[in-house]
């Protein structure tokens, strides 16, 4: 039964709870917005990074769609992010604030030690003990103090700007990165992109080898039309770029890096083109006639260059180890500590040059020897003998048993099957009892001084912390007797003895 005596207090508590709820919802919204912006900041950051990459790639490969795509990504990045953050913050802000929490905020800010919360709860109970009644009266007595107080929330909307700030700073930083990376709406315009124009005659002379018809280039647009489309300063800059590009092309041509002497089929496949271009980067100055020959020869033996590289690598590795290429100690070639200080003992043998894939098997055997004799190999392991006593299924469990009616796998450890010796004991174990061959790796390394700082001697300070339990060192009786005898002998020894 509700007591009418406490109706004013109830009404007062209702008002206080309403006020606190309003403020707490505001705080909730701001806090949620802040956490959303902070927690989800990586998403627009990632999209902006993608936009930056896309625009850079678009510029590098002159793919205007990429540049446009980058811009679109940039534009699309912020919209869903802000929408999501805002909607979630609003949803959280609308979430109901419990009455207990609202009154608890008053308790906390007025230093009432949960008096209001307790009184509110006790007023709601049908049976109140004397202490509950006293607690309600106690809360009623504190109401004057509460009325004079004003709730202050730590996360007011005014301070929220500070929380939102980092997200905007991060966005600004990424925009700056975009700008620094060369992306700008002007450069993304397909009409204003950099166009490399080469005179048709030069192209034909430089890139087309003898005996092959020149590749038809598209007709250049008339200068007047081009000039109408672009402003004069950009035109000048594009011409400068174009002349630079031509010079660069000519340089590449002299070094054989362009691969322009390849057939049209080779040019059509970009991956192959890049792969074929690799040897020409090694500084070979080739003639146009030779280029075609190389282009024809390369497909016939595609693995040749890697193999020669491997050989060269192997030779290098062997040269780096001092005990290279000597029987079982060949494993020392892989010692990472081996320096580039070449060993004078190393002798190149013709066998070293004939290494091929079969060396892997030999290496394995040699490694076994290097480990000190014959070691059990994984290949030697055999599956354990089946302990299944059923007839006709071998190692397989009896499909009809289904865990019942026969010694199938789950019941191995039970019944007669567990008594059968299932693990075979080999009569002879591979290996040898002694440690085996001793491998000594000698390396000639020039001694080097290691830097170290000398510790300065200083007086040891007195102990500051309290000493904990210390174990007393006690000698055993025979050792005590020994020490005693030694000291007695020392004492009785005459000066002439020493």
């Amino acid at each position: 039964m509700s007591d009418a005596r406490w109706d004013p207090l109830r009404a007062e508590l209702d008002r206080l709870a309403g006020d606190a709820r309003h403020g707490l919802r505001r705080v909730q919204t701001v806090t949620a917005l802040r956490s959303e912006l902070r927690g989800q900041a990586w998403k627009p950051a990632l999209l902006l990074l993608l936009a930056l990459s896309a625009s850079l790639f678009g510029r590098a490969f002159e793919a205007t769609w990429l540049q446009w795509g980058g811009g679109m990504l940039l534009a699309l990045a912020l919209v869903p992010y802000l929408f999501l953050a805002g909607s979630r913050a609003l949803a959280l802000g609308r979430a109901a604030v419990a009455r207990q929490r609202a009154l608890g905020e008053w308790d906390r800010q007025c230093g009432l030690s949960d008096r209001l919360t307790a009184a509110d709860e006790f007023l709601g109970t049908s049976t109140r003990s004397g202490f509950m009644e006293a607690a309600v009266e106690d809360a009623d007595a504190q109401m004057e103090r509460v009325r004079a107080a004003e709730l202050r929330f730590s996360h007011t909307p005014g301070t929220a700007r500070g929380f939102v700030g980092p997200a905007f700073v991060a966005t600004g930083l990424f925009l700056a990165c975009l700008w620094a990376g060369g992306w700008s709406p002007a450069s993304a315009d397909p009409g204003d992109g950099i166009v490399v124009e080469l005179p048709p005659a030069t192209v034909a002379q430089d890139t087309v080898p003898e005996g092959e018809p020149p590749v038809r280039e598209p007709e250049p647009a008339p200068a007047g039309v081009e000039g109408q489309q672009r402003p004069p300063d950009e035109e000048a800059s594009s011409e400068t770029h174009a002349s630079d590009a031509v010079d660069e092309e000519v340089n590449k041509e002299t070094q054989g890096m362009t691969g322009s002497g390849r057939s049209s089929a080779a040019e059509a496949s970009t991956g192959a083109g890049s792969a074929q271009g690799t040897p020409s980067k090694q500084g070979q100055i080739s003639k146009p006639g030779e280029r075609q020959t190389n282009a024809k020869k390369k497909p016939s033996k595609p693995k040749a260059p890697p193999k020669s590289d491997d050989k060269a690598k192997k030779n290098d590795e062997q040269e780096s180890g001092s005990t290279a290429g000597r029987g079982s100690s060949r494993g020392s070639n892989r010692n990472p500590a081996a320096s580039d200080w070449a060993s004078k003992d190393h002798v190149n043998t013709p066998d070293d040059e004939d290494l091929d894939d079969e060396d892997d098997v030999e290496d394995e055997e040699e490694e076994q020897e290097a480990r000190g004799g014959m070691q059990p190999s994984l290949r030697d392991r055999k599956p354990p003998v089946s302990r299944d006593l059923s007839i006709g299924f071998g190692n397989q469990p009896n499909p009809d048993a289904r865990g019942r009616g026969g010694p199938s796998q789950p019941k191995k450890s039970r019944g007669t099957a567990s008594l059968v010796l299932g693990v075979p004991i080999p009569d002879r174990i591979k290996g040898q009892p002694n440690p085996g061959k001793t491998k000594i790796t000698q390396e000639r390394v020039q001694p080097r001084a290691e830097p170290a700082s000398a510790a300065a001697a200083e007086a040891r300070p007195a102990r500051e912390a309290p000493s904990s339990a210390l174990r007393r060192q006690e000698l055993t009786p025979w050792m005590q007797a020994l020490v005693r005898d030694w000291f007695l002998r020392q004492r009785t020894r005459t000066p002439n003895d020493s």
Binding site: M1, D3, A4, R5, Q100, R101, G104, D107, R108, S113, D114, R115, T117, A118, E121, F122, S126, T127, R128, S129, G130, F131, M132, E133, A134, A135, V136, E137, D138, P466, S468, A469, R471
Partner: protein
């Protein structure tokens, strides 16, 4: 259902009981402080545990007055006080009691049961960790069930019954750490620290003079029982109870309310006895603060003393130097009231 006519009277009665509680408490505290200099927190903790109906474990290096504190309390309250000096060769029968052969009038002999020192109101278990686990375990039943069983005989211990044990944290040689089951039975573990400089002066003046302090009993058993009943009557709001539960759950690794430190460094958290102890000690705290219901602040204030001995640090925590107090602090920082 509440009776509007009787409610003010009941409230008046509760207020009187609370006032009586505070008066008695102050009287006992003042009497104990006649002999004990400083250590206000420890004195308050010991009295809180006694009035909440629990047992106390006092830990501190030798010479800080742990035994003096308990002896003073025994003198200040007119209770049957006994002291057990635990030693490694002590047997359970030395604590509980045993049957001895006595002469009868006719010249015969008979076995007669003689109660051990545990059968008292206030038991000082001095240096409890020097006894073997076997003897330590003899206290288990007495501390929880308030009775002791010897053979077929069961002796109900007289209320108020309170065990106040002391132990030394540094001298670990020849000691046996208390088992978890026994630690859990202590309501509070109080750490006795070194006194302040001005307290040293007071100690020297009191103890090096010719006169010795004699304490008069200012309270008795029935009063203590009445105070305990008052403590039990203090209501606990739902939010405070929830907070106490979450604090205890926060000490248990892998629980929703446990911080990261607990998951990493704690092997065993507090049991439900920890939550009971939090609420009971919180009730005493609320009464002493002049309130009639427990608040979250009360529970948080007693949490270190109540939970520190219920938390077992794992090897990782030991290697990191994590202490139980740091664990409890982490829980208090992680679990907020009203969350």
């Amino acid at each position: 259902m509440s009776d509007p006519v009787d409610s003010p009277a009941a409230a008046e009665e509760a207020r009187a009981a609370a006032e009586n509680f505070r008066t008695n408490y102050e009287r006992i505290r003042a009497q104990v402080c006649e002999a004990m200099v400083g250590q206000a927190d420890v004195v308050e903790g010991v009295l809180t545990a006694m009035l909440a109906g629990g047992h106390v474990l006092l830990e501190g290096v030798p010479g800080l007055g742990k035994t003096l504190l308990v002896r003073s309390l025994g003198s200040a309250v007119d209770l049957n006080f006994s002291r057990i000096q635990f030693t490694p060769d002590m047997m359970p029968a030395d604590v509980l009691g045993t049957s001895i052969l006595v002469d009868t009038e006719g010249g015969g002999h008979e076995l007669q049961f003689q109660e051990g020192p545990l059968v008292a109101n206030l038991v000082l278990a001095d240096e409890i960790n020097r006894a073997t686990p076997k003897t330590q375990s003899a206290l288990l039943e007495a501390m929880q069930e308030r009775q002791i069983s010897i053979g077929r005989r069961t002796i109900k211990l007289q209320e108020p019954f309170c065990v106040m044990a002391t132990q030394n944290p540094v001298e670990q040689e020849g000691t046996y750490p208390l088992p978890e089951a026994q630690l859990d039975r202590f309501l509070m573990k109080l750490v006795v620290d070194y006194p302040e400089e001005h307290e040293y002066r007071e100690i020297l003046m009191r103890t090096t003079g010719g006169s010795e302090q004699e304490l008069e009993p200012v309270s008795n058993g029935p009063e203590i029982i009445a105070m305990r009943k008052t403590v039990r009557d203090v209501p606990v709001p739902e939010a405070v109870m929830t907070h106490a539960i979450r604090l205890v759950m926060g000490t248990q690794p892998g629980r929703e309310w446990s911080p990261k430190l607990i998951d990493e460094c704690v092997a065993l958290g507090s049991s439900p006895r920890g939550a009971q102890a939090l609420v009971l000690c919180g009730k005493v705290k609320a009464l002493l603060d002049g309130r009639y219901a427990v608040s979250s602040d009360d529970v948080r204030a007693v949490a270190p003393a109540v939970l520190r001995h219920r938390v077992m640090i794992n090897f990782h925590g030991m290697a990191e130097g994590t202490t139980p107090d740091a664990v409890v602090k982490a829980v208090l920082d992680h679990v907020h009231p009203g969350a």
